[in-house]
């Protein structure tokens, strides 16, 4: 990165990552679908100060020698000096990430992609509907709103996982449940002893919660099938296409609209997305 004449930052080689130190690793979920959250701090002082993003954007994170993959930034942009990503162990690079220890170095490129219109949504009631690791980008919005709480209306966080041990950000949800300025609605797919919240799929829990569509924005992220049913149910609840947002993922390499693989129709998820309103999504013809 070098400064150009306007004093803004220009990346000379967009493929070359910046170095960031893993300063904290949180175990979110253990077992076969293990999830860890990484707090990353840029090594270069200037980047540390100047790196900024808006909820909804993503970064490409490398373990050198293993590869690079795409992760939604799960921390809020109101938190300066660091970013967080949550990683489910799934492939070669994510397995390598799971081997890392605090103090280790990774490569980070970004932020890329479009954003949630958090500024434009001020004054509105916000409903977040997440499933599994899909909560990561929603967590960024959730924490952003909590840090600007007086600018928004009611806040509902609907979240579900397969089992209680698959719940991501468990401790954070427990903290949120104690607050009276956010309503948390957790669910698990199958009954478990000691579980006092909803049992069933996220779209069904959404129908139980029945949020009002008035002056509201609903944002959903999770497995493709969950997103599909959540959108159907939101429409049943009276939400319009313009009130429903989701964020999509696709396999990516470059992250900047060149390598060709993340297209849905003529749009690239990396640069035209990852955030789409249902209005946009409905008009899209493409393989998802």
């Amino acid at each position: 990165m070098t400064k150009n004449s306007e004093g803004t930052f220009e990346i000379q080689n967009p493929y070359q990552p910046l170095l960031a130190k893993v300063v904290k690793i949180t175990n979110e979920v253990d077992g076969a679908r293990a999830i860890k959250t990484y707090k990353l701090v840029f090594q270069d002082e200037e980047t540390k100060i100047n790196f900024s993003f808006i909820p909804g954007q993503f970064v490409m994170v490398s373990v050198f020698g293993k590869g690079e993959s795409t992760f939604a930034i799960s921390s809020s942009s109101t938190q300066k000096d660091y970013i967080e990503i949550s990683v489910m162990k799934h492939g070669k690079n994510t397995a390598a990430l799971h081997e890392l220890e605090e103090g280790d170095i990774v490569g980070v490129r970004g932020p890329y992609g479009n954003t949630f219109d958090v500024k434009g949504w001020e004054g509105k009631n916000i409903i977040l509907i997440g499933g599994g690791i899909g909560q990561a980008p929603l967590r960024s919005v959730l924490n952003y709103i909590l840090d600007n709480r007086d600018k928004y209306g009611t806040l509902d966080a609907i979240y579900g996982a397969r089992t209680s041990s698959d719940i991501c950000y468990k401790e954070e949800f427990a903290e949120l449940e104690k607050r009276d300025d956010v309503n948390v609605h957790l669910s698990i797919d199958v009954e478990e002893e000691g579980w006092n919240n909803y049992v069933g799929f996220v779209p069904n829990n959404l129908m139980e919660v029945k949020p009002s569509s008035e002056n509201a924005i609903a944002i959903t992220c999770g497995p493709p099938i969950m997103i599909e049913y959540v959108i159907q149910n939101l429409l049943k609840l009276g939400f319009t296409e313009k009130q429903i947002y989701t964020t999509l993922e696709m396999r990516m390499k470059c992250g900047i609209g060149i390598c060709g693989r993340c297209n849905i129709g003529n749009l690239y998820v990396c640069k035209d997305g990852p955030v789409f309103s249902y209005e946009q999504l409905k008009g899209l013809q493409g393989d998802m």
């Binding site: 020698g65 993959s69 490569g107 396999r251 390499k253 060709g260 297209n263 129709g265 393989d287």
Partner: protein
């Protein structure tokens, strides 16, 4: 801009002069085909070829490219890869290969400029050579282009039997040719007339036509059409069509490393491979060959026109020439034109 003439016997002297100061790429015979290679002498150039097997895109967008270097592992670091400032000359480009770059420019020089492509684009001179005898599967005329088009090059040569017409098209071409003034004389009206004749003759030699009118718009309504299953039936997913395509630009990024040093390398990839879109979660948005064949045709004939206002095909005919199961893109598009949407 300026029309000159060079006697054919002087061509070798001129090119050898150019080689002294530039890295010159030209078609070189390799067993039974020709390929763009760096030449050290004019005599290496293969003028018998119609089209080099791999398109000229490989010169600016290399098949493998080191993007940066790193020290592997969890204490890793990165090192920037230096970009060379060598002057490049691509000699003997056909219209269909030269047009490549006007199609790839919006991709590689868009919101984020690819520094490797950009640098080579800026320091290369494109010298075209008119096709006097086009191939059986050539169809550049379907896009309104001509086998003797000067639209996409800095300098265009046309073989006029005994001498070559040298059309200097761009400012960059003019600057370049001014270094070699002694080899050229001004072109006469007769020379320009003979070019016209050669061009007309060549156009007559193109027998195949892709009926493009209305295709991009029609495709909008044909995403779910059964024609994609028919087209995909024969495809074996080998990806040859993508590697020989002058406008295919997909790539993969891979880490190549030993214990102590490594590099992130970009390599050409192909959308006909199921792995191409396979998520780590197991989900694949394009699981069947139908999805992949459809995506490739849509990319070139619908997405490119929507995004960049240009069709992503130059009419070189390579994908038809080299497809091992005889899939013919002209037939596909013409059938789409005839189909009920």
């Amino acid at each position: 801009m300026e029309n000159l003439v060079i006697q054919t016997e002087k061509l070798s002297e001129w090119v050898n002069e150019v080689i002294k100061k530039n890295k010159v790429f030209a078609p070189v015979k390799e067993t039974d085909f020709s390929n763009f290679k760096i030449i050290d002498d004019y005599s290496e150039i293969d003028f018998t070829y119609l089209l080099p097997r791999v398109p000229a895109k490989k010169i600016l967008f290399k098949q493998t490219e080191t993007l940066f270097l790193f020290t592997p592992g969890s204490k890793g670091s990165v090192q920037t890869k230096e970009i060379s400032d060598e002057k490049l000359v691509v000699f003997s480009l056909r219209t269909c290969d030269a047009k490549t770059f006007s199609i790839l420019d919006p991709v590689f020089l868009g919101d984020y400029a690819d520094p490797f492509y950009k640098s080579r684009r800026e320091r290369s001179i494109l010298i075209g050579l008119s096709c006097n005898k086009p191939n059986v599967n050539c169809f550049c005329t379907s896009f309104g282009d001509s086998p003797a088009s000067s639209d996409y090059v800095d300098i265009l040569l046309t073989d006029l039997d005994g001498k070559h017409l040298v059309e200097v098209v761009t400012e960059r071409g003019k600057k370049f040719i001014d270094n070699y003034k002694k080899f050229f004389t001004s072109a006469s009206k007769e020379d320009l007339d003979s070019k016209k004749k050669v061009e007309e003759q060549a156009i007559k030699g193109i027998t195949r036509t892709m009926k493009l009118e209305g295709i991009p718009e029609k495709l909008d309504k044909m995403f779910e059409h059964p024609i994609w299953y028919e087209n995909a039936m024969k495809c074996i997913g080998c990806g040859t069509c993508t590697f020989v395509c002058p406008t295919c630009h997909c790539f993969d990024m891979q880490d190549e490393s030993t214990l102590r040093e490594g590099a992130r390398v970009r390599v050409w990839d192909y959308c006909m491979n199921p792995e191409y879109t396979h998520h780590a979660s197991g989900h694949n948005p394009r699981p069947a060959r139908m999805n992949r064949v459809r995506n490739r045709i849509f990319h070139k004939f619908n997405y490119y026109p929507i995004n960049d206002n240009i069709v992503g095909c130059t009419g070189c005919g390579r994908c038809i020439d080299y497809c091992s199961v005889n899939i013919d893109v002209i037939d596909i598009i013409n059938k789409i034109g005839e189909a009920e949407s």
